[in-house]
Amino acid sequence: MTQQDKTVLSVHALHWQINDKPILADIHFNLQEGQVLGIIGPNGAGKSSLLRCLYRYFKPTSGHIQLFNQNMTALSSRAFAQKVAVVLQDTPQHFDMTTRQLVALGLTPHKGVFDSHTELDDAVIDQALYKVGLTEKGAQVFESLSGGEKQRALIARAIVQDPQLLILDEPTNHLDIRYQIQILELLRSLKISVIISIHDLNLASALCDSLVLLEKGHLIAQGSPNQVLTEATISSVFDVCCEVHSHPQHGKPLICYFYGYDNDLSCNHDKGNHHLNVTT
């Protein structure tokens, strides 16, 4: 990271509460251009809520979010959608579009009321389908795609939206490991700034440049995977015992979990005696 790196997004003292019940409290982090930021934390930690604040679906109770050094709330809906694309987990039922029609929706924020669909638009859509490896599936009904293909089609839609920042909520959910890796490597290959919420800590470690760890709406740790994914933080936040090694391929943290939590839940972090008293 050099001094010239541009800040894409900076979050200061973000609070969000619903009916006086705080969901997010005092969140702050920065995202540098071209980086992949992973948001991790246990269920109910506020990962999705944080993302919803970032793509303006929720209005923060207090705090500032700056996008390219500009106050995010100052942007119009359309201008915001031209800069930030979002891929969500669920697609509605009775969805009768073909893959290509779905991908074409990414053009929406770039089209005025009198703009028509041009040859260039078709080329952009073709290219996006090619990038995610779905050229053959364009004419198929979206519902008929497999889980991994659906996720890639949604990413193609986001590519067509031509954003500077891409936000994804659990893009690897329900996918087998092959597709999980494929999706994340696809995101890295796009060379744009990305924020994802992600469950699998090993995946987050391998493919994110920096991590933000949340617990019960509070920011617990942030920084590189090496800084965030330590045995002590994982055991206190996720309530599991583990051993952190260095991955043989890329050298980032590789987490081995221990099993057998029927008995006492206290972890022993002394080297050489990691496991619980399960063998006894």
Binding site: Y55, R56, Q82, V84, L88, P92, M97, P109, Q140, V141
Partner: protein
């Protein structure tokens, strides 16, 4: 599924418009030839060419029947069918509810209530020859329809998450409320008034005139134009509210706006030809079966209009001694069709 190149598909899509226009023109000629008086389609063509281009000569009485009775009637049927279909299609998309139709939000019962008020309290029977009744009834119906839409809109609120639910539920409540008020008024009124209201509420194009045609034509064309401008946003709503939001759409505002535009279409049509059900529900489904994933508004309008013309032809010719209300025919065909769609969907699932 047909595998066509993108330009091929676009060509095919544009083909539908001239094809539809031709079909519409011939429908006009043929539909003009049906009715009590013996008139041939050639007569309709001759009469049209005389009036539009000054070619040929006037056919006298036949000419007057064609120009003053048949043509406005056929055109009103077309406009009503087109407008209701477009409104239904848009409402089904923005509420993501396949059961949505233009009357979903209590418009028809509001309009009926307005009509009942005019007929019973103001004492202007449908069959009165004073002419005032013909202004009073549509006006009352329009005010009633506007009132119900206003109540539903004011109940919707700005909360995106619960907007559709509130819309649908308040629509049902408003329907029942106006239905009850209408029943109450009819209960204390004369049998003739009740019969008039029944006849009116089932819909008819029999009273179409050139002057009465103006408002529906202007409203349907301009509202369809507004809808066309927001077509991309409307299609994007299919993805769900949250994704539509991330595509730069003000979801609750767009939905309220489209509801208002569709309500204006529906209210004007209800006021000019009564409550014609099922067209707004059925035609969008047919178009969706033909063109999945798209929002072919022009095709929807064309199909709805032509369908309605033929329904009106049936209404005129099924019984030799009198006309059937079009609402009955659309409801019979519509409900049968709807069961068919449900069955199909059930099999797919």
């Amino acid at each position: 599924m047909l595998l066509l190149s993108q330009s091929g598909k676009r060509f095919l899509r544009f083909c539908w418009i001239p094809l539809g226009l031709c079909l519409g023109f011939f429908t006009l000629l043929f539909a003009g030839s049906f009715g009590a008086a013996e008139i041939h389609s050639v007569d309709v063509l001759q009469s049209l060419s005389f009036h539009l281009f000054g070619i040929g000569e006037s056919l006298g009485l036949k000419d007057r029947i064609i120009m003053e009775l048949r043509l406005p009637r056929v055109l009103l049927a077309f406009v009503a069918g087109a407008g209701l279909s477009v409104a239904g299609s848009v409402l089904q998309t923005v509420t993501r509810n396949p059961l949505a139709d233009p009357y979903l939000f209590g418009i028809s019962s509001g309009a009926s209530f307005g009509a009942v008020v005019v007929l019973t309290l103001l004492g202007q029977g449908v069959l009165s020859s004073h002419g005032v009744g013909w202004i009073g009834l549509p006006l009352g119906a329009f005010i009633g329809a506007g009132l119900s839409v206003f109540i539903v809109l004011s109940m919707c609120g700005n909360d995106v998450g619960r907007q559709v639910e509130r819309m649908l539920l308040s629509g049902v409540a408003v329907s029942f409320m106006f239905g009850a008020l209408s029943s109450l008024l009819l209960y204390f009124s004369s049998p003739q008034a009740a019969a008039s209201v029944l006849f009116w509420s089932l819909g008819s194009f029999a009273k179409a005139t050139w002057s009465g045609l103006m408002l529906p034509v202007i409203v349907v064309i301009s509202c369809t134009g507004i809808i066309l401008l927001f077509k991309r946003q409307i299609i994007a709503m299919k993805m769900g509210d949250e994704t539509a939001h991330t595509l730069g759409i003000n979801v609750s505002l767009l939905r309220l706006g489209m509801l208002s535009v569709c309500s204006v279409i529906t209210a004007v049509l209800v006021a000019s030809c009564g409550g014609i059900g099922f067209v707004g529900l059925m035609i969008p489904h047919i178009v969706r079966l033909l063109f999945p994933g798209q929002l072919s508004l022009m095709l929807t309008a064309m199909l709805g209009g032509i369908f309605m013309i033929w329904i009106d032809v049936l209404a005129r010719t099924l019984l030799s001694y009198q006309e059937l209300p079009v609402g009955i025919i659309t409801a019979v065909i519509g409900s049968t069709f709807f069961l068919f769609v449900l069955r199909r969907r059930h099999q797919e699932a």
